[in-house]
């Protein structure tokens, strides 16, 4: 039964089980350790029910979710689905961040290279714990520093470019990736900037596609050259509707 809305109780009124359930229990923010516990407690949820999900089971990041009538989903436009800090890494893997819950994802990463300058950061998909290499990563990018502009691109690459890291100052990259978890072609765009110590600002932006029409569940960022990278990466799901 769905929540009943608002009721003002009067002094001496009998508090019935029905009123308790529909005005109170079903209209509170219910806490569950994980989605499995919620499914067990509420096998038939009603539209508007709201719950707080802890980190037990498949939910690694606590979430507030509302039942829409067909599914539990967060009420926000963006939902953090994965985050990791890394130090002196060659590759940074985020598995099981792409699901059917979202069509598109917003990714923010920041990094610096521990021993080299102007080293690219590359992106590849992952599936069931394995990295997807091959030659299906189409990419175009433009890099500029001061008035010097250079363009790169390929239709049969092993990765997508998605940033550059140097020593001292952290780079900043934002990316959107569309359809990673769907059996459809994928699209990507990124904007990145970094500055070497005492040197010029280096800006970098580009686009990518992947036409393998395969659903993937993860991603990896790779330090694509000398040195290793230290920084953070955050992955957000963008609400569909």
């Amino acid at each position: 039964m769905a929540g009943a809305g608002k009721k003002t109780f009067t002094a001496g009124e009998i508090l019935t089980a029905s009123d308790t359930n529909t005005y109170l229990m079903e209209q509170t923010v219910m806490y569950f350790a994980g989605t499995a516990a919620r499914a067990s407690a509420i096998p038939t949820p009603s539209t508007g029910m709201t719950s707080y999900i802890g980190t037990t089971g498949t939910a690694s990041i606590p979430q507030i979710e509302t039942y829409t009538g067909s599914a539990w989903q967060t009420p926000y436009g963006m939902t953090l689905v994965g985050t990791v800090n890394f130090t002196s890494a060659t590759s940074v893997v985020l598995d099981n961040v792409f699901t059917s819950a979202y069509d598109s994802y917003y990714i923010v990463h920041s990094a610096r290279n521990n021993s080299a300058n102007d080293v690219g950061i590359a992106f590849q998909f992952r599936s069931a714990g394995s990295t997807i290499a091959g030659t299906a990563y189409q990419r175009n990018a433009i890099q500029s520093y001061l008035t010097v502009i250079s363009a790169t691109g390929t239709n049969g690459g092993a990765f997508w470019n998605c940033g550059i890291a140097s020593q001292v100052n952290f780079s900043q990259t934002t990316m959107t990736v569309t359809n990673p978890a769907k059996a459809l072609s994928k699209a990507m765009e990124f904007h990145a900037a970094h500055s070497q110590a005492g040197a010029t600002l280096d800006t970098y932006y580009g686009f990518g596609s992947n036409i393998t029409n395969t659903a993937y569940d993860g991603m990896v960022l790779v330090c694509n050259g000398a040195g290793t990278i230290t920084g953070t990466v955050r992955v957000y799901g963008l609400r569909n509707s």
């Binding site: 689905v81 060659t90 590759s91 985020l94 598995d95 363009a151 790779v222 050259g225």
Partner: protein
């Protein structure tokens, strides 16, 4: 290669983050990616160098900096 290449792995299904050495397959993949990136950078650098050479030749012909920039 004496340096141990490290992967940081986050799993959203469990919330766990681990660190481990790259596997042999991952190292092979990384080497392919590096070679591809180096070739791409060399091609881009060559295009920039060719453009700068062309601009210098135009300047030598008498074009002003503004005229060259307008091209």
């Amino acid at each position: 290669m004496s340096e141990t290449l490290k992967a940081v792995v986050f799993d959203a299904a469990t919330g766990e983050t681990i660190e481990r050495p790259l596997t042999a397959d991952e190292i092979a993949n990384w080497e392919v990616m590096q070679a591809e990136a180096e070739a791409e950078k060399a091609e881009a650098d060559a295009k920039v160098a060719a453009r700068e050479s062309a601009l210098a030749k135009l300047a030598a012909l008498g074009l002003t900096a503004d005229e060259v920039a307008a091209l």
